[in-house]
Symmetry: C2
Subunit: 324 residues, 2 copies
Amino acid sequence: MTVSRVVNGSVSVRPATRRRVERAMRDLAYIPNRAARSLVVNKLGVLALVIPDISNPFFPLLARGAEAAARAAGYTVILGNTDEEFDKEDAYLRAVCALRVDGVLLAPSGHRSRESLDLLARQHIPVVLIDRDVEGVPRDVVRGESRRSARLLTDHLIQHGHRRIGLITGPADISTARERERGFRDALHDHDLEVPPGFARRAPYTREGGHRAGCDLLSSPDRPTAVVTANNFLGFGLIDAARELGIGVPEDLAIVTFDDVEIVTDAPFFTCAAQPAEAMGRTAVERLIARLGGDESPMRETVLHTQVLIRRSCGCDGAPPLPL
Amino acid sequence: MTVSRVVNGSVSVRPATRRRVERAMRDLAYIPNRAARSLVVNKLGVLALVIPDISNPFFPLLARGAEAAARAAGYTVILGNTDEEFDKEDAYLRAVCALRVDGVLLAPSGHRSRESLDLLARQHIPVVLIDRDVEGVPRDVVRGESRRSARLLTDHLIQHGHRRIGLITGPADISTARERERGFRDALHDHDLEVPPGFARRAPYTREGGHRAGCDLLSSPDRPTAVVTANNFLGFGLIDAARELGIGVPEDLAIVTFDDVEIVTDAPFFTCAAQPAEAMGRTAVERLIARLGGDESPMRETVLHTQVLIRRSCGCDGAPPLPL
DNA sequence: CTGAAAGCGCTTACAG
DNA sequence: CTGAAAGCGCTTACAG
């Protein structure tokens, strides 16, 4: 029909005809079928965003940024939650492949996510990694500054006079967990400090994970006087452990952590590295859309500046000394 | 092709042929195009979930429940965030209509959402309302117990001895805001208490909204000794206001609120009505899927039990008296 | 058991 | 400026 022409505003259509068509469309409440359209133009106008934990406020914030940018460019965002499980990641990715989405933003759940990248590559669907990197092939990735921030946070504890500093980081197959551990070790190394045996621990990025690791870390008589945790849930889990063991924070134990997600708290407590979640989402969408537009420049790693926020969990009180 | 037959497992295919087809599919990493399929079977396998505020942890929790139930039934969930703006709701809904999703779960942004329901009805897309109701036409809706919970929370403050009790609820065109106000008034009425002028206030469901309304409420010399807030952000905003004015919580001001979202806090503080967010998402998806399966029973309102959690913001200390 | 035809709702050249 | 034809990737009867 010539309907298509008026819908897409292409070529010229006689005003009278256009009016007739528009009237009919209105009367029928006609909305063109995008799936059918996609079959011929090979574009759906949909981007998929795959995140590992929707109950971690960091990711919804990221999603909000992504969605705003996508909407501005005329795309709709499909959100998928993997619960840090590769099988769910895989299932979701297969579904969006079947839908022929235009591109995907992926925060990989772990080392098996390399398979996800292969899957997407075989379907020729562009992907940009977000928050977490997958080593191996070069990829477009938009992430926060993990290593440097971890070093700054650890350094801040050292400035406070701490010498026995512990670490709770995430699973080894998640890049942020590795990078944050590196930053931690960088800082100790700068000051010729050692990591006593058992002081660097790994746990799932959950409150329960932080609680378990925290109990292990704190129940030794030679326990650390300060701990760096690699994400917000780990930090809260550590506090839970400290409370159970009657260890006061920050008096008896200083804590610094990652991600500022205390939107729903009466008084934010954590000294932390606040990654710009919304900007990460926005930036990643922009990268993806550039690829969709035919950008063939080399794969690009975009590292967003991460601010260190000094609050109370490190032992600072009110005005920060900010030796950073 | 006979490929379709092996993909869909229909009719019998000679094992040898089946094997050949499967082999070819594997070699080509073939994934059938669902959009094309949907054109003929009139099913996409996608459900849309439209929420008003992704940065409010209540909704991601709800989304997680919805997604789990949808996945179990073989559906993929598309998530859309409206920021409480009808225009974004409308844009998103039009996009999912164009995609021909099978059904939608909608937490309406306000009174204009009636137009959304009309839109969906004209496209013959089943919808179930979630968390918030839209009065007028009967609808499938899955929501929490607002009125009764608000009454219980208010009653609890009265048990504490409070007589001058204020309210900060949400916008009048959101059903939860109205219902919570009703519950609040129910409780006062039960005890022959009055609502002094200016004691019942409305504000957007944001921390800033709670802050503003809180300042208004607390700056009078005759200020309330206790306040009920209708959502978590309002509660935190009120605390912000109290802190600025040097009013101690709960010593000088008791607060009770809605939604238990303090996953990321060192020590949950709010006495609150904890709506079962995940169960709401799950239940709503089940309702929607029943409709998709041809369920033509009368429209149904499902009200999920909401638990009142006694904590510290009301003035209780440790073990709750629980006169509820 | 398996192939050829028709059609789902669109768009893209191609004629008129 | 506008209609008729062909085709996007699938599935559904219909023949063989």
